[in-house]
């Protein structure tokens, strides 16, 4: 049952990612990316990371991608054209990328033996209480630094995107 769920959602993630790369209109790519994030959230649930799964839905799929979709709608982005140089790049690049996947897959299979199956429910520390304890005790400094980072990002985004008032 766990393997069937993994295969189903991994297939959805890969199909959506391929759709992201192949679609010509940015809105279709954005919605495919939302599909990838949704299926990744289910995979995080299988791996026992329930807080991360919900954070993925709330932060990534619910806020960042909505921002992307807003920008695409506001800028009225149209479909994209392909040129000759572009196609030559693909003929050279796609085999190299497939080789990269092959090498990584071989190394992973070599280092991690086929045992160690991921059983849903065997990782118990992904709940918000344990993550909160670890975050606020061991990782307090990075947490505070990221809050400053978000503040800087907010100020930067507002300054860059505002209308100039003459």
């Amino acid at each position: 049952m766990d393997a069937i769920l993994f295969l189903l959602f991994a297939a959805i993630a890969v199909v959506c990612a391929i759709n992201l790369v192949l679609q010509s209109h940015p809105i279709s790519s954005a919605l495919s990316l939302v599909g990838v994030m949704g299926s990744l959230a289910v995979l995080y649930l299988l791996l026992g990371g329930e807080f991360i799964a919900m954070a993925q839905l709330i932060v990534y799929a619910g806020a960042i991608m909505v921002l992307f979709i807003f920008v695409i709608m506001l800028l009225n982005a149209g479909t994209e054209l392909k040129t000759k140089r572009h196609l030559w790049g693909m003929y050279a690049g796609v085999p190299l990328l497939l080789a990269l996947v092959g090498v990584v897959g071989y190394i992973v299979h070599d280092v991690l033996p086929a045992s160690g199956a991921v059983v849903f429910g065997s990782f118990q520390h992904g709940n918000p209480e344990d993550i909160g304890k670890n975050l606020f005790v061991n990782y307090l400094l990075p947490f505070e630094v990221t809050s400053v980072l978000i503040l800087v990002a907010i100020v930067g985004a507002i300054v860059l995107a505002r209308k100039e008032v003459d």
Binding site: E50, M54, A55, L57, I58, A61, A63, V66, I69, M73
Partner: protein, 395 residues
């Protein structure tokens, strides 16, 4: 009975009750708004217009389903599905009562108790923005696009004060699962005041409750925040180009969102299915008293009714109410029905508040709405969270 079959039965029951509630919520809204405006509301279709939702469903199903030629067909089709899907799935984590046992089956009155239930609801309300934004964009129409973008921007802006208003009682109750939240609100202060979150020390969460209710109005695009979909403002906003079933889907999604948000407010702030005062003082007989009182009024007015057809409908209604009131007295049925009654009563109060405000307040202009979110509600929510955290840490 194994888990899968039991879950399917519970899911079918919840879906049926939810769909009926959504249909009759619209009837209640039309009647209440009509009486606020000193008129009567629907009364031709069935007694007192009770079959009006059925007539509306038939009308929406049999209307011509147009597909305008200039829309983006894929997104035009999936936008209402997305809106309805995320609105309806949120009901699956809402508990309607405690644990019950019917014969040999012991189960909880909830489809699934996630230990991150509150985060789940927050995530789904964030995903509900997609239905609106895509509907506005796919319609290839200036007014729809503007309405869709405004509505999504409003929903996102009010998610922040809503999340902070949710976080404040969570600081006091220390759990994210809905069932544990309600269990932590059991018990009574001084034997009489219930330990609901709005009464609970060290800081009664009244401000959080008000913030949550106001943010919920904006999240569900209801008056006074319904500029993006008002009929006389933007030609009906993001659902301008939709007809028949797809329009019905958006309508259903809006009402389902209302029900979900009222349920969450009840569970977080009003104590879920916990009664108002302890069982020693007779809280078990409150539903019986209310239904008997209603039945008595119906029978009294049925004796000499104002309208002729009420000679039949009012006594029937009176007998039905007396029957329901008597059902609360049977002990086996009462253990199931009592928590359900308290939960439904509290959700009903908040839904009535929604409908009452729709009939009473004018709507905000869009820039007033966004100003209100960012310059008033957001600082108040931060201050409330800060004070709550401080008081919880000090005690």
């Amino acid at each position: 009975m194994n888990f899968l079959v039991l879950s399917l039965i519970k899911a079918a029951l919840v879906a049926f009750v939810l769909m009926t509630t959504l249909a009759y919520l619209q009837w209640i809204e039309r009647k209440v708004i009509a009486h606020i405006q000193l008129r009567v509301g629907p009364r031709r279709v069935g007694p007192h217009g009770l079959l009006q939702p059925l007539a509306d469903v038939i009308k929406l199903l049999t209307k011509e389903d147009m597909l305008p030629s200039h829309v983006n067909k894929v997104f035009y089709f999936i936008a209402p599905f997305i809106a309805v899907f995320f609105a309806l799935i949120a009901i699956s984590v809402i508990p309607f009562g405690g644990d019950i046992s019917i014969g040999p089956i012991k189960t909880a009155m909830q489809l699934t108790d996630l230990n991150i239930g509150v985060l789940f609801i927050l995530g789904l309300s964030g995903m509900g923005v997609y239905g609106v934004a895509l509907a506005g964009w796919a319609s290839n129409n200036k007014y729809a696009l503007l309405g869709g973008l405004r509505s999504s921007a409003q929903m996102i802006s009010y998610e922040l004060p809503m999340a902070m208003a949710i976080a404040a009682p969570l600081l006091m109750l220390n759990t994210l699962s809905f069932r544990q939240l309600v269990d932590a609100q059991g018990g009574f202060y001084f034997g009489i005041i219930p330990r609901w979150t709005i009464f609970q020390g060290p800081f009664p969460q009244v401000v959080s409750f008000l913030l949550f209710v106001i943010a919920a109005f904006a999240e569900t695009n209801r008056v006074p925040f319904d500029l993006p979909e008002a009929e006389n403002e933007l030609v009906a906003g993001f659902h301008t180009e939709y007809s028949s079933m797809k329009f019905a889907a958006f309508f259903m999604a809006e009402y389902a969102n209302m029900v979900t948000v009222s349920c969450v407010a009840t569970l977080l702030f009003l104590g879920g299915w916990q009664p108002l005062f302890p069982a020693e003082y007779g809280s078990k007989f409150i539903p019986t008293l209310i239904f008997f009182f209603g039945g008595a009024i119906c029978l009294y007015h049925g004796a000499n009714p104002v309208r002729a057809f009420d000679r039949i409908t009012l006594p029937v209604a009176g007998v039905v109410f007396l029957g329901i009131g008597a059902a609360f007295l049977i002990p086996i049925v009462a253990t199931i029905l009592l928590p359900l009654f308290w939960f439904s009563a509290k959700v009903g109060v908040i839904l009535f508040l929604y409908i009452w405000i729709r009939g009473t307040l004018p709507r905000f202009r869009y820039d007033q709405l966004m100003n209100f979110a960012w310059t008033f509600m957001f600082p108040v929510a931060i201050a409330n969270l800060f004070i709550t955290g401080l008081l919880v840490a000090l005690t």
